[in-house]
Amino acid sequence: MTLILYKCSNHKPMERAKAIATIGSPSNKSGLIQQLQEEVFALQRFRKPKSEVSDLGLGPIAKAFPESTFPTGAVHEFISYQTPNAAATSGFMIALAGRLMQQHGSCLWISTRRTLYPPSLKQYGIDAARVICIDLAKQKDVLWAVEEALKCQSLTLVIGELSEISFNDSRRLQLAVEQSNVTGLLHRYNPRSENTLACAARWKIASLASDHPTLPGVGFSRWHVELSKVRNGRPSAWDIEWSKQGFQHLSPQEVATEIQTRKTA
């Protein structure tokens, strides 16, 4: 608490005086903490997402994020290792994209070896005509294109498939989205190391076996969603299912396993 106070006071001396004056009374305490929290968010360049797209139907997953809202206008990182998991990750990303783009948005899909099948996008509520695919030869070009695209305010979403990215490069992407408020999803397939990036969250998606005792056949897509890093949030894991109605949670009490909370201040 004192540390936060100190940091804030460095920034705004008036706030500090106000905080010290009001800290005595317990009724003001929660209000004060909220106020300080907002200031910390401001310092950490976290912004409240726009209200129109705040509810992505993520349910409990959204609670892992600060303010219980999925951060748009930020870069998210997805890591996958095997082809089936890469497909599951793509599926989850497309499902998210469908919710983010809604009716009018457009999306850029930048990759080097794209295996995306455009007709499959319809299942996730996306008209593939609104997705522009850019197939590049080099990872370096992908990084450049993602950065340029993230600066373009008329896009809703940029999906980049690149395995290696350095911390500095991710900072550049973060600076780009702060200006434009575009959401970026990076899919890192088979990265050499899980190095730290300046991203809002790190996701890992794995496919789950369909487990219906009575019904035959393959059911809805099921994923094990692991949020292994969240800025200012609580990392956790869930099992979800994707149906036409959207994300459905599978017995959250049993599955959700709280991973240790990171201290962010």
Binding site: Q82, Q123, A129, I132
Partner: protein, 498 residues
């Protein structure tokens, strides 16, 4: 400064053109003919046919009676105008103002041009020499007025060049037809014995007006220079081109950027004035060692945004090698399209969104090439590889809707990969399959979904698709090619479900 006009008469314009195209017709009598009231009537005659007595307006059958070896070609309507226009554009090297004079002549305003050829006679000689070298039969006339030059070209006898102020002398002995009159007037003049212009030139104007109308007087005035005659010069289409010479040879990148900005501003201003946008632009740098360095850009949609175009060029500026220095910059837009400014205003919001996106794609296209950008639309095929097609532009709309009833994999392999399977019974999904050395045991399966090969596009066997799930929950799209009847069918993996 007194005006000087040149009139050029092409006696056999279209036939000369055909002889030029087909040299083998040089010694052959031929005519152009077109149907008129159910007969083929001669429209143009070449010199050899004319020498045999065939003239325009004659029926082709009569012409054939005179000269059985006469060749007849179909007359192309409007050909003379196109030829004259092309010739007039060519003549712009002799004067900035060149006009066509249908059906068979050109008029050039040679005022102030002839001294470049050191006189009027060398000027005409050079002009005619070149036209004759093309193969045209030409007769010139040069005078202070268009009317007089026209008359000298067609009816003059000796000297084609009339000295300044010599129209009266020159016209005196010419027939009335030299005044560009209609046949009714000329007939009436001839009937009255007025066979030379000199005979009625000095008559009282009121008497002439009463008998022959205002036209005769007006044509006479034009020929004598008492009435001004306007020309409609042919204008070549002005290219979207801007030049910027530099005082000293330029070598630095900053200077090149500055020149480019200047040129783009000028060009975009002109594009705005003409409601156009460019699709392609070429920036050329003329080096002092006579080598031209050029960079070019293309845009996804017509644009006249100088800042955006500069950004596109900026990526390529590094390719210019100034060496000893650049002395001239030229910016040209070879491809332009109409771009209305009203559209911008009315559809501001969506237009700006589209514009921004198009500009982003331009930047990507300039850096890595247009072929890397794809956008897909649904196509009416069930065969998975053909169920979508590439959109040609950013605006192209889908003609059909995407299918969503049947599950389709998120990842599709470009070429299906062969797998080893174990199947319990024909037409059942496999129990296990081996792909890239990994064994997958199948727990659940959906299918089959049979997709027939479209025989009108390609011959081949049908595919029976199964959506299968292994013990880890990974889902695959596998298919069997053909049936079990005659041979062991092959199994392939084609995609991965999310």
């Amino acid at each position: 400064m007194s005006k000087r006009f040149v009139s050029i008469w092409f006696r056999h314009l279209t036939t000369d053109w055909l002889t030029r195209r087909r040299p083998e017709l040089k010694d052959v009598p031929f005519v152009f003919a077109a149907p008129e009231r159910g007969r083929m009537v001669v429209k143009a005659v070449n010199p050899i046919a004319a020498a045999s007595g065939i003239s325009t307006g004659m029926v082709v059958a009569d012409g054939r009676a005179i000269l059985p070896s006469l060749q007849v070609f179909d007359d192309q309507h409007g050909k003379d105008i196109t030829l004259l226009t092309a010739l007039a554009e060519w003549c712009i090297r002799y004067t900035p103002i060149a006009a066509i004079d249908p059906p068979d002549g050109l008029i050039l305003d040679a005022s102030g041009c002839t001294h470049l050829w050191e006189g009027e006679v060398p000027y005409l000689k050079d002009l005619l020499g070149r036209l004759k070298a093309f193969g045209y039969t030409v007769r010139p006339g040069m005078a202070d007025t268009v009317g007089c030059a026209w008359a000298i070209a067609r009816y003059g006898h000796l000297n084609p060049v009339i000295e300044p102020g010599g129209q009266v002398e020159a016209l005196k002995l010419l027939p009335p037809a030299a005044l560009r009159l209609d046949t009714a007037t000329t007939d009436r003049l001839e009937k009255l014995g007025l066979t030379e212009i000199g005979k009625f030139m000095t008559m009282p104007r009121s008497a002439l007006r009463r008998r022959f109308g205002q036209t005769l007087l007006s044509q006479l005035d034009k020929a004598l220079g008492q009435e001004i005659e306007m020309l409609t010069p042919v204008k070549p289409i002005e290219a979207f081109l801007e030049r910027l010479p530099s005082l000293e040879p330029v070598r630095t990148a900053t200077a090149i950027e500055y020149a480019l900005r200047e040129l783009l501003d000028k060009l975009c201003k002109r594009l705005t004035a003409e409601e156009k946008g460019l699709r392609k632009a070429v920036f050329k740098c003329y080096r002092i060692d006579n080598i031209i360095q050029s960079i070019d850009i293309g845009t996804a949609r017509a644009s006249r945004n100088a800042a955006h175009l500069f950004k596109l060029f900026e990526i390529k500026i590094g390719q210019i090698m100034p060496a000893l220095g650049i002395e001239l910059f030229v910016l040209e837009a070879p491809v332009v399209e109409p771009l209305s400014s009203n559209q911008e205003a009315i559809w501001n919001f969506s237009y700006n969104r589209q514009k921004e996106l198009a500009e982003l794609l331009d930047r990507i296209a300039v850096k890595v090439g247009m072929h890397t950008i794809h956008r897909y639309l649904p196509d009416e095929h069930h065969w998975p590889e053909r169920s979508y097609k590439e959109a040609k532009s950013l605006e192209e709309e889908a003609t059909t809707t995407w299918q969503s009833e049947l599950p389709r994999p998120v990842h599709l392999l470009r070429d299906p990969e062969l797998i080893d399977v174990t199947v319990a019974m024909p037409d059942y999904p496999p129990i296990l399959f081996k792909h890239k050395g990994n064994l997958h045991r199948i727990k659940k399966a959906d299918g089959p979904e049979r997709i027939e090969q479209e025989w009108w596009i390609e011959q081949g066997l049908y595919r029976d698709y199964y959506c299968v799930e292994d013990e880890k929950g990974a889902r695959y799209w596998v298919f069997r090619l053909g049936h079990y009847r005659s041979h062991e069918p092959k199994w392939f993996i084609h995609g991965f479900f999310a």
